[in-house]
Symmetry: D2
Amino acid sequence: MKLASDNTSGVCPEVLAALNDEAARFGAAYGNDPTSAKLTDVLGEVFERPVQVVPVATGTAANSLALAAINPPWGGVACHPEAHIAVDELSAPTLIGGGLTLIPTEGEDGRISLEALAELARRRDSSVHAVPLTSLSLTQSTEVGTNYQPDEIEALCGEARRLGMTVHMDGARFANAVAATNSSPADLTWRSGVDVLCLGATKGGALGAEAVVVFRPEVAEHLDRHRKRTGHLLSKQRMVSAQMLGWLKNDTWLRYASHANDLATRLAEGLTDLGYELLHRVESNMVFVAISPEQAQDWWAAGAEFYVQPTETPRRLAARFVTSWSSTDADIESFLKVCGGHESI
Amino acid sequence: MKLASDNTSGVCPEVLAALNDEAARFGAAYGNDPTSAKLTDVLGEVFERPVQVVPVATGTAANSLALAAINPPWGGVACHPEAHIAVDELSAPTLIGGGLTLIPTEGEDGRISLEALAELARRRDSSVHAVPLTSLSLTQSTEVGTNYQPDEIEALCGEARRLGMTVHMDGARFANAVAATNSSPADLTWRSGVDVLCLGATKGGALGAEAVVVFRPEVAEHLDRHRKRTGHLLSKQRMVSAQMLGWLKNDTWLRYASHANDLATRLAEGLTDLGYELLHRVESNMVFVAISPEQAQDWWAAGAEFYVQPTETPRRLAARFVTSWSSTDADIESFLKVCGGHESI
Amino acid sequence: MKLASDNTSGVCPEVLAALNDEAARFGAAYGNDPTSAKLTDVLGEVFERPVQVVPVATGTAANSLALAAINPPWGGVACHPEAHIAVDELSAPTLIGGGLTLIPTEGEDGRISLEALAELARRRDSSVHAVPLTSLSLTQSTEVGTNYQPDEIEALCGEARRLGMTVHMDGARFANAVAATNSSPADLTWRSGVDVLCLGATKGGALGAEAVVVFRPEVAEHLDRHRKRTGHLLSKQRMVSAQMLGWLKNDTWLRYASHANDLATRLAEGLTDLGYELLHRVESNMVFVAISPEQAQDWWAAGAEFYVQPTETPRRLAARFVTSWSSTDADIESFLKVCGGHESI
Amino acid sequence: MKLASDNTSGVCPEVLAALNDEAARFGAAYGNDPTSAKLTDVLGEVFERPVQVVPVATGTAANSLALAAINPPWGGVACHPEAHIAVDELSAPTLIGGGLTLIPTEGEDGRISLEALAELARRRDSSVHAVPLTSLSLTQSTEVGTNYQPDEIEALCGEARRLGMTVHMDGARFANAVAATNSSPADLTWRSGVDVLCLGATKGGALGAEAVVVFRPEVAEHLDRHRKRTGHLLSKQRMVSAQMLGWLKNDTWLRYASHANDLATRLAEGLTDLGYELLHRVESNMVFVAISPEQAQDWWAAGAEFYVQPTETPRRLAARFVTSWSSTDADIESFLKVCGGHESI
């Protein structure tokens, strides 16, 4: 019943095989190797256009470097108040971006609304005194497990472009969004106006592999300098590239993402049947339900692993359950048995 | 004849085995896992005292985070002009340290001299206008493949402590130094006054594994915050810990380091016999000889892989050869044959 | 009808006299002069306790340096969403603070509410991933011209202290607050729990003189280093100290502040009589009323100088009028005549 | 006998008159005022071409902002090891520049030599790992009171441009250089290839007035943002502009600079006659002579004010004497009497 996070899972066999293969070879350092070159080619195929690729080991690195590259240091990044960059990265985007400001931009179910973005712009002071709006950051799938549809992305990116903003997408769970929306990677990104995607494989089954995928290199010119001077250029970068290649090969990434999504859907159905209130629509591999502090204690005591977050009232917690490539039907069914043994609030 | 760098080698079997083992498991994220706890214990045994351990994926990250933790942002770090932090990290220690200044401190054969450090201090303005000397950074083995002996470290650290400076050691090739000096890890570090060591396993056979090892936690209080806010806290940190455990187990690290050192010694002897001038004493796994630009071209054409660096005269280059855990006698002998076929300068 | 800002006024005679006097002398550079020493003494009398004083030339410098000194670089500063540090300083506190995050904390009439602060703390994640709450920043008088009463400050500071936060007060218009609340400078600051005050004289009649006044030096140890390394240590600092001494002497600062407050009150009454809606209570030297875009155009055309800010609806603007030491009754009466000639919304 | 620094002098009457005049007026804030506009025009005349002008209150601010504007954050600034930016600004250029590195570049008498710059470039690694050479910073007059001639500036700037570097000039004592070299401001700057000059009036008789004068705006695009976000945009900027206008008017600046230069020459002659060894050629308003620690003590005891700096031997100090607009013949003669009463070393 390990539902705390997809990042507690191990490494999937496909990634591990690719890694073992690469590990056996000599190879040029710092990304000047054939495996890294191949990754760029493969991602070009995945996204149906030439891309620039900067592999790193963590999602926070990917997000921070991407934002540093597409914003001036005094820039402002409109992001959802619950975005990972805003709440889970200890201001790394600010530090690495040379002083960037994150600007909370509201919207339901973890998604920025077009109205909120437009209103933010309307009320923004354009003088030298105020932080200008320079980037929009979208998370796909969002922090609460919902997805933006391509037309929603297009509308938001269109508004951003009109306002002179670049667009970043945090895709730590991009695979889940692709699998869930039945949309192509291209439609979910550059065809809808995204400039830079941080594509995460770590939560999806890699050891530690993320790639900044640049669709509009003219707005992210110095990404390589930012990476080097923050210590994120790995000497054996090819080991990261190899992981990602193993993950992408034969649609492994999408197969695992679908698997995780399906288990989350099953879990949501089971919880609903038991009378629990879902706090967000379940569209990827995360389920949020309202529980009491006592329930949380009971479930933990029964061996379930999950996180809780505070809500607007102290008596009510938001319990978060995350499935992964390595979750099993048995995990879900065991957990539902635990929940069934307790009363819902 | 792959002598360009120890970071072009693959991953050694012992590390790979540990990694595959860890990869098969679930485990808590962000270092709250038993493997990471075990690494702290094992390093405690290696260094014969309790230590704090912060694993990261790159050497630049380790150095920069360690320096950020033991210096105020306006501090000055005395380091050799050829130190990795000064010439190969694109000012990462400066950025991550919040504006740190690196202060070149001379000495022969890549080692800071006690006299240079004392003279630096004597001439330093102590007012609010000048960057104060707040840390000493030693590299072991040095960038030119030499080593500090324990008594030399002790003298330098003693002077540093007297001046109110903390002491950092860049140990990207610490294993080579331990193997070469017949000194204990403890004697080469905290027993001689080092506060924080960046212990590198990547060049020694890991995929990407470095550990900041803290001997004096009271001078490096916020290392974990620095790591998080630069994107260097890996969610699956246990995979880095596992690599390092595999590398340390049964003295694997020292065995490989000795192997590399021995091959470098053999190479140096061979080159000397052929009449080449060694530019530095050969004490670890690196050999520097003076060659002409034409010789460099010829050797590269013959398939040898190595880097050259400029010297004080354009007609003379410093060729650098680095051996690793995976180098073989055959590599060395093949290469010496190439060299023998050309005239020395 | 110059009501755009108190910083468009000239220099009051008392400050100018002190400046001319100081200008005629030699004096030690960088604050090591008797005038600066005297300023520390005089502020000690004003605040009824020993203080540390760091004079600078701008309010943004004062705020940013104070916050840099009392927060770690990864810290979070709870401030009102409309605070000057949040909306008018182009992220200077973030840059100078090494990456500080400002955390919007709501409350009516420009004042942070105790409930908002407590709720912020309740929902804050205390792990290494989240920006911790490390400071509370209050503005007195606030950006909308209201004041915190001493008991309100005490309650907020008490909560902050309980949460382990330091407390900063932006006192760009502190003189207006002292004059308006009939409270002592001590009661409005350290006696109620404020650690560091940025006392502004520029808006009150100086050329460019602000002082960071430190009540709890143990939480702001390195203020002098921060000042120097941001270029805010003036060589002829004594000229700033002299201005502030001239301003403080014989309660000049409070006399002018009362004058400005009184004119704002008169203006508010006049506008109310004319049927305009005041957007905030008028407690210092600022008046906000709702007007239409057309009214703004008309009044500007009639020679009135003032700023407008957007509100929640495009058809409605918040017009801001600021009085100063040099405003006159005639200014107010002339302006009210302009307003009277137009219909209110 | 106040010879410690030109920044211990008061404010010259011409600057004070202009300041009093401006102080009596209302005026738009943040530089949107006619006085600031006039300063731009007047500096355009002084430099015989259109310029952009950014007034600030300190020399460290001017230098740091100029360097921040003309370098990427990872850039390297070649400067003399004794440059003010390198030794007297507590790494402000590094902080404000987002992590800039200052690269010591040697040369006699405080001036960078063309050979040193070329050699630096020849040995520079051009990979992503090394800090690139992005700016050259010249100081005029230098920290030891010497001057670059126009042809020397031209040669250095030519080499810099060839290397893709921008050029900054620290002109804290630019007036002294203009007065001493009989060269036009234009010939000493943009006609010889300087991109940005920091023109200092503070040491020359102002209260606190420096101007970043931009000759090539395309390399310093965001200077205004850098200024704002470091707290260096003064609300009453017009008071700084007024000072500088008063200083420039009727060649006041050059008249005072000549006066100071002449007194330094007289002092140098007197000291030479008394047998003291000049440590540098005396070309502006500074004189350096070798003295013993005992002499320093004696002269201070006799009332002379001056600084000493360490030299290569502990028994020998470099005494620095600086004349200013307010120094008098009597100061010099009194001081020479003091010196004459002691034996030279």
